[in-house]
């Protein structure tokens, strides 16, 4: 399965395109401005992915840097870069959206 990375805020069409394409068993890693997609008020699509049991992660350094630590959606798992590497090893390939 595929590890999808998303580095753009919900303003950008990348989020919608990613959500249309992601499949059961894939995982999504939010990084850089992508972490806004998992924050309160901006998390509609990410919420839908979580409801479909698609695992969504966010890079903690990006969350902290943007002041979003208390605003992240329940169900989005915060990871460090080591966790990101680990997820890459578990998925067959990766796809960047941005």
């Amino acid at each position: 399965m595929i590890l999808h990375t998303l580095n753009k805020s919900p303003e950008h069409a990348a989020l919608g395109r990613c959500c249309e394409t992601i499949a059961t068993g894939d995982v999504l890693v939010l990084l850089e401005d992508g972490v806004y997609c998992g924050s309160a008020g901006r998390d509609r699509q990410v919420g839908e992915l979580l409801a479909q049991n698609i695992a969504v992660y966010a890079i903690n350094a990006d969350v902290q840097a943007r002041g979003l630590a208390v605003r992240m959606t329940r169900g989005v798992t915060l990871i460090d870069y080591e966790g990101f590497v680990q997820l890459c090893t578990e998925q067959a390939s990766s796809k960047r959206w941005g």
């Binding site: 580095n7 870069y81 890459c88 090893t89």
Partner: protein, 130 residues
């Protein structure tokens, strides 16, 4: 596992280079191996030895150099992307009769074949861009 990391974003323009560097360090820290870091598009600017950020900011150029030196990571800049953007090593500067070379010697100038080889030969390929 062996990773190829593709960096398409320029330093201090987008966060792509910084994210890629954090990821690269984590690959090494978790006992995996970096097969190659391939700098493409504006990513080639990471090899610019003239980058002089303020002292209280992360020096991304030096950060890559440290990774290359301490962990033997192969740092490859795409020759077509690099020449177009004025990133030259000594050999290319001489060949094109340019007044100076600005690519750090820890970075290797090579062709796009290195990107394809990296994608084929590594177990995983991860791209960072903007």
């Amino acid at each position: 596992m062996r990773f190829t990391i593709v960096v398409q974003g320029g330093p201090y323009t987008s966060q792509a280079s910084l994210s890629a560097w954090h990821f690269a360090r984590a690959v090494v820290a978790t006992g995996h191996e970096i097969y190659r870091v391939f700098f493409y598009h504006d990513g080639v600017y990471n090899g610019n030895s003239l980058l002089t950020p303020p002292q209280d900011e992360t020096d991304l150029h030096m950060a890559w150099c440290t990774l290359g030196r301490d962990h033997g990571c192969e740092l490859v800049v795409c020759i077509a992307s690099a020449l177009r953007r004025g990133m030259l090593d000594d050999g290319e500067a001489r060949r094109y009769e340019k007044p100076l070379a600005n690519l750090n010697k820890l970075f290797i100038v090579s062709g796009l074949g290195q990107l394809i080889d990296g994608a084929i030969s590594a177990d995983r390929t991860v791209t960072f861009g903007n």
